[in-house]
């Protein structure tokens, strides 16, 4: 049942439901740049409520809604709103609830979308809650893998970079572990995947942890690169040393499988140099653009045009 459903955490979706979203996103693909000819959400209003700036995610949701014919209500600057006057999230949600047919929420507190879903009658879509969940990012990542490689089952996915703080890695690796895949976690000692996540994933699928990307590149179908943030290191020299090791070079990719793809949640800094962009393996811009059909699919499913 998708009608009026909240999309709060990827953990709320079963494998079958994830596949349903990917399938619907695939059907939306032709309309992702030109708009849906039927305008199925023409009588709907989607509110985007962003308590912290994330221009790309907001624009992606708003574009997806408009491509389906919906109208969009957007929270203006925070300074001018009641949020600045100290209104609680639960109160704000109760008000916005009556203005729109769905609420897309971005908030700095973890669990904010779950709270909002309890106060709203209309469906709430989590567009990122602090270091917590960002389910549409996970779904667009899965859509990219599925679309580029034909399937998810049987694939080997390697995550490289900051695996400790990167929430995209946590959510995506958990969701992938519901499928028949192998996961590789490649990171410096300081930024290893948290133990409780690894322990949970290992119950279902094989996991390999290493510091050495060279050693495993030949085994991978997907190389998912994340940014290593300077702020994580007290010593800048230490940061430079560590970050330098995980820069993706053409020579590295040439040793990979023929159909290897390189993904990145963006923005990137130095970990993927521009010289990679034109290689056939580079899929990160495609991945970002997949946000539109995936978000169109979700909006269409929960606002019930069919």
């Amino acid at each position: 049942m998708w009608l009026n459903r909240d999309i709060v955490s990827i953990g709320d979706l079963s494998v079958e439901e994830i596949m349903e979203v990917l399938d619907r996103a695939n059907k939306m693909l032709p309309y992702a740049s030109s708009g849906h000819p039927r305008k199925p959400l023409a009588d709907k209003i989607v509110a985007t409520l962003f308590y912290e700036p994330s221009t790309r995610t907001r624009l992606s949701f708003e574009s997806a809604a408009m491509r389906l014919g919906a109208r969009v209500l957007s929270l203006g600057s925070l300074e001018a709103s009641s949020v600045a006057k100290g209104e609680t999230l639960s109160d704000t949600i109760r008000i916005i609830n009556s203005y729109s047919d769905a609420i897309v929420l971005r908030h700095p507190s973890e669990g904010a979308a779950r709270l909002a879903s309890e106060y709203a009658d209309v469906p709430v879509i989590n567009a990122g809650d602090g270091a917590g969940q960002h389910p549409t990012q996970t779904l667009l990542d899965m859509f990219t893998i599925w679309k580029e490689l034909g399937q998810i089952n049987g694939k080997s996915i390697g995550f490289v970079g900051d695996l400790k703080y990167g929430r995209t890695v946590h959510s995506l690796s958990k969701a992938l572990s519901l499928f028949d895949v192998s996961l590789y976690f490649i990171s410096p000692e300081e930024l290893k995947i948290p133990k409780h996540i690894k322990r949970d994933i290992e119950k279902r699928i094989p996991v390999k942890e290493t510091k050495n990307l060279d050693e495993v590149i030949e085994s991978l179908d997907v190389l998912y690169v994340t940014r290593i943030q300077k702020e994580r290191f007290p010593d800048i020299e230490e940061y430079k040393k560590v970050a330098g090791v995980y820069v993706i070079r053409p020579s590295l990719l040439s040793r990979g499988r023929k159909n290897l793809i390189v993904m990145h949640p963006l923005p990137r800094v130095d970990e993927i140099p521009a010289e990679i962009d034109n290689l056939p393996q580079a899929k990160y811009f495609k991945q970002a653009s997949n946000g539109i059909p995936v978000r169109m699919a979700i909006l269409d499913m929960i606002l019930g045009s069919e």
Binding site: T88, S109, G111, R114, A131
Partner: protein, 156 residues
């Protein structure tokens, strides 16, 4: 509890006996029941008591106080499987084993400082029980998983 063990600490006329507390946790029990701040209550504590079932255990006896369900739930968090005996006029009127419910509400806060449940006063912190042994729970809001030590530090 056998008669012999009961006698290690004097029998109580009226009150609550908490038996089969995992060894070393008796003082945690006193802490979460906020007994140290209540001079009207007489408490006996036995630690490192030999037990057939547990090897060693702790026992707490609280005079003139019958625990409510919120307090029992808190005890379940740190002494799952502990035995509660309610005593009136030196005789046992009720005896049962404390059990953790599958959904735990209102007795502890989330250990994640950035969790929305620590920011909005309307929220009752709520957790799902993942596993009893080792104890592991998950916050309903931020999905943080917490284990024994973190849980003990977060009891309200």
């Amino acid at each position: 509890m056998t008669e012999e063990k009961m006698l290690k600490v004097e029998k109580i006329r009226r009150g609550t006996v908490i038996d089969h507390i995992p060894v070393g946790r008796a003082f945690k029990v006193l802490k979460i029941l906020k007994i140290s701040t209540d001079p009207g209550v007489t408490v006996s504590v036995a630690i490192h008591v030999k037990s057939k079932k547990m090897g060693l255990k702790d026992v707490v006896k609280i005079e003139d106080r019958i625990l409510d369900s919120s307090e029992l739930n808190k005890i379940a968090l740190i002494a799952e499987g502990g035995t509660i005996t309610i005593v009136e006029d030196y005789s046992v009127i009720k005896k049962f084993v404390v059990k953790l419910p599958d959904i735990i509400t209102g007795i502890l806060k989330c250990s994640n400082a950035r969790c929305v449940s620590n920011m909005e006063s309307v929220i009752k912190p709520t957790f799902t029980l993942l596993s009893k042994n080792p104890l592991s729970i998950k916050c309903h809001y931020c999905e943080r998983e917490m284990e024994t030590d973190e849980i003990m530090d977060s009891i309200l």
